[in-house]
């Protein structure tokens, strides 16, 4: 998913890229609540009939379910942020905070398409500067990569015009 934010027109832009994830935190909580309700009702019913050992098994299972879903949701947090401010382009990648980053002079940045990893996969998009390149938006779909390339090309061009 691509989200674009604008600071000073023509000078400051931020593009936020997030990995595909079809589950939101709200949906996860809703699902866990239904599972808890269901398991809770069943276990309580059997406890009332004297079969209390069902309760710890139901509780442990729900905890495992909640832990696994939480871990998955944490993984959804991976994002890339591309900040274009005056003559600098900053690329950052991480979850809760940047784990990898790169600072480039925007005048020297070019976008480059590379071959896909294999047949049926999307072409790869790179930021190139001073002979080195870094892949961006590896988790985006082909359509999203094309949109990102077009947006970034336009913003870099606008930025150059402004800087001149």
């Amino acid at each position: 998913m691509i989200k674009t934010e604008q600071g000073v027109p023509g000078r400051q832009h931020r593009i936020i890229l997030t990995a595909n994830a079809s589950m939101t935190a709200r949906q996860m909580h809703f699902f866990l609540a239904i599972a808890l309700l269901f398991l809770g009702m069943t276990a309580t019913g059997f406890v009332m009939l004297g079969a209390w050992p069902v309760l710890p098994f139901a509780g442990l299972e729900w905890l495992l379910l909640a832990y696994c879903m939480r871990k998955t949701l944490d993984r959804n947090a991976l994002r890339e942020v591309i900040t274009l401010a005056d003559d600098v382009l900053i690329w950052e990648q991480g979850r809760l905070e940047p784990e990898r980053s790169l600072r480039l002079q925007s005048a020297w940045v070019a976008l480059e398409w590379g071959e896909s990893r294999n047949r049926n996969h999307a072409r790869r998009l790179f930021l190139r500067s001073h002979g080195r390149r870094t892949e961006i938006g590896a988790f985006l779909t082909e359509d999203e990569r094309a949109t990102l390339a077009a947006t970034l090309t336009r913003l870099l061009s606008d930025n150059q015009k402004y800087m001149r």
Binding site: N20, M23, A35, L39, L55, T134, F139, T141
Partner: protein, 533 residues
């Protein structure tokens, strides 16, 4: 330019391209790849199918004619118990889990399962569980012999193998729970952009509901068998009337698990059939949304009908009426599904390749099994059917031409995608006809045996039942040996043959994302998610 952390360059950015699997045996031990784990599940289930099938042949051999011929009654009961436990937990459930592992990620456009290491664990618990269960045959007192229901107080007479049986059930239960959690998490979180819940392939939908059923009922079964263990070894009296307990409580616990378990075995079959029929009818599935809601309704209703297995223990009339009507209600969503499959075929441009033949046989024979189930839902009538061969005929019609036929149909349907080679169509059709004829020869006469009063789980019987039993045994042996042909067809396709196209079946690419991948798919597929319109 400055880089504050590791960055790629020209020499490194292709470093971890589409690499294939690791080499050697340890690949299979450490693998977290959904295709590898799917393959492991399916190979294991095929081995278990043959072992459980061999046990069925021991049963049918003894029942070929009246009198005691080959095995003693104790061993006969061990065979009936292990046959059921192995077929349910070792063959059918792992086979569906294998197909889910292989197909769900590539059907929803995900690169793998959401929790790959958990996936590895959930598979590798299975072989340990089965070895432990099989080892009970060699223990003092033999394997468990109380039937798969493990009713107390009978099951408490089991010898040294009792705690091993309970531990096996716990291990297999943990494996199933982990697989269910993985499937739910994968489907909820890893769908490709544009793949909304109401665009999910039916196979995926049925598995989501199955996984929810597994999560809902497994703790009940785990609790029940743990109580059996504490009753036997720790002096509790959960099910001991002399200590203030109630053996009927176990029946409630077991069937609260056991009835949804039946749907755990059949719902993924509905999903497979709903994938196959539209492909070979060359039409979209009729009534997709109603199929989804019908599946969900069947899942929900499965929680509220458990006591129809217990009419003969004694129940207030209001209870009998409730469970009779609630059980009959399940016929409504099931009927919706059957009519939708028929409507999909109606005026379709049908062809009859092996997967379609199995799918059509499924629709006809599963419906027969469903009708006999409807007969048993009527509590006064069930007093006659209970614990007779009529029940054996009913659940085998549901599970063999139901679940097992759907698994065979699914295998033929997706085998070219998995292996990259077409199977031998001529042999496939031969396998179909041998299997379909023999399955009816085996189980159809059992209806008559049951209605005439032959009880189940007995090694000997009155001579009046001899003829139908002989037919049934002949059918069972033909069915059993026909499955060697199935294994040969699979091995032949794995080893080579006519190359399969990406689409495999004409027009199949309209019916799912899996057909847009090469045959076989790359080791890592959908690294970049497709966009589903």
């Amino acid at each position: 330019m400055s880089a504050s952390a590791a960055t790629h360059d020209d020499h490194h950015d292709d470093h971890h391209d589409d690499h294939g699997p690791a080499k050697g045996f340890m690949r299979w031990v450490y693998t977290t790849n959904h295709k590898d784990i799917g393959t492991l599940y399916m190979i294991t289930s095929l081995i278990m199918f043959m072992i459980g099938g061999a046990m069925a042949l021991v049963i049918r051999l003894e029942l070929f004619e009246p009198g005691m011929q080959y095995v003693d009654p104790g061993f006969f009961n061990q065979m009936t118990t292990l046959h059921a436990l192995i077929m349910v937990f070792g063959a059918v459930m792992p086979a569906f889990a294998g197909m889910a592992n292989w197909m769900i990620p590539i059907m929803i456009g995900a690169p793998d399962m959401a929790l790959p290491r958990l996936n590895n664990w959930s598979f590798w618990l299975l072989p340990f569980g089965f070895v432990m269960l099989a080892s009970t045959l060699f223990m003092e007192g033999g394997a468990p012999a109380a039937g798969w229901t493990l009713y107390p107080p009978l099951v408490l007479q089991t010898g040294d193998s009792f705690p091993f049986t309970i531990f096996t059930i716990h291990i297999l239960g943990i494996s199933s729970i982990m697989a269910a959690i993985n499937i739910i998490t994968t489907v909820l979180n890893m769908r490709a952009p544009g793949m909304t819940m109401m665009k999910l392939p039916l196979f995926v939908w049925t598995w989501v509901i199955t996984a929810f059923l597994l999560i809902a009922v497994m703790p009940v079964f785990a609790g029940a068998v743990t109580m059996l263990l504490t009753d036997k070894y720790f002096g509790t009296s959960f099910f001991n009337a002399a200590g203030g307990g109630d053996p009927v409580l176990y029946q409630h616990l077991f069937w609260f698990f056991g009835h949804p378990e039946v749907y755990i075995l059949i719902l993924p079959s509905f999903g497979i059939i709903s994938q196959i029929i539209p492909t070979f009818a060359r039409k979209p599935l009729f009534g997709y949304s109603s199929m989804v809601y019908a599946t969900a309704s069947i899942g929900l209703l499965s929680f509220v009908v458990w006591a129809h297995h217990q009419y003969t223990v004694g129940m207030p009339i209001a209870g009998e009426l409730y469970f009779t009507y609630a059980t009959m209600l399940i016929a409504v969503p099931t009927g919706v599904k059957v009519f939708n499959w028929i409507s999909t075929m109606w005026r379709g441009s049908m062809t009859f390749e092996t997967p379609m033949l199995f799918a059509i046989a499924f629709v006809m024979l599963f419906t027969m099994g469903g009708f006999t189930g409807l007969m048993m839902s009527i509590s006064p009538a069930d007093l006659q059917y209970h614990d007779t061969y009529f029940i054996v005929a009913h659940f085998h019609y549901v599970l063999v031409p139901g679940s097992v036929f759907a698994l065979m149909a699914g295998t033929y349907y997706w085998l070219p995608k998995w292996t990259g080679y077409m199977y031998d169509e001529r042999l496939g059709k031969l396998h179909f006809w041998l299997t379909t004829i023999s399955v009816n020869v085996t189980f159809f006469p059992q209806h008559f045996l049951g209605l005439a009063g032959m009880p189940r789980r007995i090694p000997d019987y009155a001579v009046q039942f001899a003829e139908f039993n002989a037919w049934s045994s002949v059918g069972a042996f033909v069915f059993g040996f026909s499955q060697l042909l199935f294994i040969y067809i699979i091995i032949k396709a794995v080893r080579g043959g006519q190359k399969a196209t990406d689409e495999v079946w004409e027009g199949a690419s309209e019916h799912g994302l899996e057909w847009q991948l090469p045959s076989p798919p790359p080791y890592h597929s959908w690294i970049t998610a497709p966009f589903v319109k």
